[in-house]
């Protein structure tokens, strides 16, 4: 599943570790989500959406697969 996490993180000038700290996951997990290696669970997707104050479907796009 494609996502805009890397762009959103860059806009805030956060490192992967800093984003991981906000989301209660590791830097490796953030990297895995950004590169499409891992699709986040629904609770994590909601945490991401709340953190960036955006709807989930504006961050994740399953139609680009």
């Amino acid at each position: 599943m494609k996502n805009r996490l890397k762009v959103l993180r860059a806009e805030r000038d956060w490192s992967q570790a800093e984003l991981g700290m906000h989301l209660d996951v590791s830097r490796q997990a953030v990297n895995a989500i950004e590169t499409g290696k891992h699709d986040p669970s629904l609770p994590l997707a909601f945490r991401i959406a709340r953190l960036f104050e955006m709807p989930i479907e504006e961050i994740f796009d399953d139609e680009l697969d």
Binding site: G20, D24, S26, R27, A29, N31, G36, H38, L44
Partner: protein
């Protein structure tokens, strides 16, 4: 979400990724020890690291969902190994039973020999544990490598 003072930090979670690879390296050392023998200090580290990695995978709160996904592949690989081993035992034992039943049906006596010696098929407990640990870490490493080769990279 309520504040949890014991909640693992991002550093704790990242450390678990490194520790699981340490466990994998220790498992390889354990395997080498089974064939070649090693210094006692190395044996202690090898078995300790192997056990620690598996305990971390099973119990640690610091593992995030991505790491747990990799663990799951490892657990499934280990479970498949156990199932195949037991299936092989079943097939050999069932074959032996069929042969004995055939012998009894044709001659009315039980054969004195056995085609399949179950004791010869069993490995010693320490080697079995090391093999199971290798299956877990092998599955974990396979999942990790599959991700590396099937997706784009990111800084």
């Amino acid at each position: 979400m309520p504040f949890d003072p014991q909640a693992p930090s991002e550093q704790d979670r990242s450390r678990t990724h490194a520790l699981i690879w340490f466990g994998a390296a220790c498992t390889l050392l354990s395997l080498v020890n089974r064939f070649l023998g090693m210094d006692n200090m190395m044996v202690v580290i090898a078995y300790g690291g192997t056990a620690g990695g598996l305990l971390q995978a099973a119990l640690s709160r610091a593992s995030d969902e991505y790491l747990r996904g990799l663990y799951n592949v490892g657990w499934r690989t280990m479970g498949t190994g156990v199932a195949l081993y037991l299936m092989a035992l079943f097939v050999f034992a069932a074959g032996d039973l069929s042969r004995q039943a055939g012998h009894w049906a044709s001659s009315g006596t039980k054969p004195s020999d056995s085609m399949f010696d179950i004791n010869g098929f069993l490995v010693d407990p320490i080697s079995l544990c090391v093999i199971l640990a290798i299956l877990f870490y092998g599955g974990f490493a396979f999942a990790w490598l599959r991700d590396r080769f099937t997706t784009e990279s990111s800084a």
